[in-house]
């Protein structure tokens, strides 16, 4: 049952009229949504990246086994043999110090200038790259190969990620509590604004129901009002997220890359986060307004 254009136009008219009539309340509600969504936006920006980084590291099945600089070829061959026999090791590959530096520079992309002097005196040792079948096996493999002769150091992702996960968990819990509080405040404020407009139009609603207007018909203008307030409230947060992430990604991203950390690409992040913020805004608005309307529509 499609709504007639003329009816839709009426509902939109009605809702904008009352948004204007309650200007200050509208402004307060929109501001509340804005504040909440700014915080949600910044929080999610950080959390998404931390999750991605943790995920990157966690899905890493590599264990790097660095070799003593003074190792002989025979010792190295023997070590390779030993490594291949360790449980859960899928593959063993030798990486010379030169290859190591090359692949490092490649992963850094356009920032290789800052590493130019490394090429003169390569600090990387020769290494074996072990691969396990599953990420969670790296920790076990690392522990087993650490004590083999001529091994100076063993590196794998899982260890660092444990601490990171711990941090993410705490940050997430604190953030979620804070944000849920803010979101509920916004819902409440919108509900209140809509309640005012409903009270002002009590008579009108009463007569509408008397002459046989459907509940849906009565509800529409308030639905639109809530939706508009929610979406208006998401405008500033969306812009802010775009600006902030531009600085974060293009300003900070390079430095982070030197620490082998890759952030979520600018466009992926801003597109998804913007949609999410507008969506949350819309839900807050509609939820707030519908919770107010429900009480008034009973008979």
């Amino acid at each position: 049952m499609a709504m007639k254009i003329r009816t839709l136009r009426r509902h939109v008219n009605e809702s904008f009229k009352s948004l204007g009539r309650n200007g200050w309340m509208t402004f307060a509600s929109v501001s509340a949504v804005t504040v909440s969504l700014v915080l949600v936006g910044l929080f999610l920006m950080v959390m998404f990246n931390l999750n991605k980084i943790a995920g990157d590291i966690e899905s890493d099945v590599e264990v790097r086994v660095y070799l003593d600089q003074s190792i002989t070829q025979a010792q190295q061959d023997a070590l390779e043999q030993d490594l291949k026999e360790v449980k859960n090791v899928q593959s063993v590959q030798f990486q010379s110090k030169k290859q190591g530096l090359n692949s490092l520079m490649k992963s850094l992309g356009n920032d290789k200038k800052s590493f130019a002097d490394l090429q003169k005196e390569n600090p990387l040792p020769n290494a074996f790259i072990l691969k396990t079948k599953k990420p969670e096996q790296t920790i076990h493999v690392a522990n087993q190969v650490r004590d083999l002769p001529n091994v100076t150091d063993v590196r794998y992702g899982k260890g660092t990620v444990e601490k990171l996960f711990h941090f993410i968990r705490i940050a997430r819990n604190v953030g979620i509590v804070l944000i849920i509080g803010l979101l509920f405040t916004s819902v409440f404020l919108i509900a209140n604004t809509i309640k005012l407009t409903i009270v002002a139009r009590r008579r009108e609603i009463e007569i509408m129901k008397l002459v046989g207007a459907t509940n849906a018909f009565v509800r529409w203008p308030y639905f639109i009002e809530g939706l508009v307030m929610g979406i208006l409230g998401s405008v500033i947060p969306v812009v802010l997220v775009m600006v902030v992430y531009r600085f974060a990604y293009y300003g900070l991203g390079g430095n982070l890359q030197q620490m082998f950390i890759r952030l979520i690409p600018y466009h992926t992040m801003t597109t998804n986060l913007s949609l999410l913020l507008v969506g949350i805004g819309a839900i807050i608005g509609v939820w707030g307004s519908m919770s107010s309307v429900r009480k008034f529509l009973k008979v």
Binding site: T7, R203, I207, L210, V211, G212, A213, T214, V299
Partner: protein, 231 residues
């Protein structure tokens, strides 16, 4: 003749336990004019509210145009109400709308076509004799005129049944006769009218069927009846 309104053993208990209607049996034919009389608290308003489904009966069946509205689904209530015109003692007009807009409003919110709205509004304003005041606002009208606007609004969707709860309750005797004149014209067009009233003079002079309620029961049902009791 068709039963427009048929009540079978209708009871109504309010949530606080007050028994407002106690076993009402009644049939109203198409085109009838019925007065509902009785002392204060007899259940007249409750009876009226039952007919347009503002209240559900606690027990019993209420057929309006052969449809039992006692078990009408909530979703269908609005569509049902479009077939019943309602008039109240206190007019219930929207103060910020003109006479024309007040009547048109009732058709707009049930999504009538704009052309139909224009035509119908002019027709009913003509019928109640207020075409010349269509641009006035309610507070620029006398009580009787306001009530005529409210009647115009109640019949603009051509309902087969018009119910009125003390429509002359707020009006002086003179104006009340005007209202009755309007009702007469509407009734002559075939609309069934049920009117709860305390107005002895009107009931005694303009004779119609009288149903007297007392303590939520029908104590008298008389064609061409009189008011019949002392207030």
């Amino acid at each position: 003749m068709e039963d427009v309104i048929l009540m079978q053993n209708v009871w109504k208990a309010y949530p606080n336990g007050v028994m407002a209607l106690n076993g009402i049996d009644l049939s109203v034919k198409q085109g009838e004019f019925v007065y509902i009389v009785g002392p204060s608290g007899a259940g007249k308003s409750t009876f009226i509210k039952m007919i347009f489904r503002e209240l559900k009966p606690t027990r019993g069946k209420i057929f309006i145009n052969n449809k039992n509205i006692a078990n009408l689904r909530e979703r269908q209530v609005p569509y049902f109400r479009r077939k019943i015109g309602v008039v109240f003692q206190d007019f219930r007009l929207l103060p910020k709308l003109t006479v024309y807009e007040n009547v048109a409003f009732a058709l707009e919110v049930i999504e009538e076509h704009p052309r139909t709205i224009k035509k119908r509004v002019m027709e009913v304003l003509d019928l109640v004799g207020l075409k010349h005041k269509m641009r006035s606002f309610p507070d620029q009208l006398s009580g009787g005129e306001q009530q005529r606007v409210s009647i115009a609004r109640s019949i603009c969707n051509r309902p087969p049944v018009l119910i009125a709860d003390e429509p002359t309750g707020n009006l002086d005797p003179e104006t009340s006769w005007q209202i009755m004149d309007v009702f007469k014209r509407i009734n002559e067009q075939g609309t069934t009218i049920v009117m709860a009233t305390h107005n002895r003079d009107i009931v005694n002079k303009i004779r119609h069927r009288v149903i007297a309620l007392e303590g939520g029961m029908i104590v008298r049902d008389q064609q061409e009846g009189d008011y019949g009791y002392e207030d």
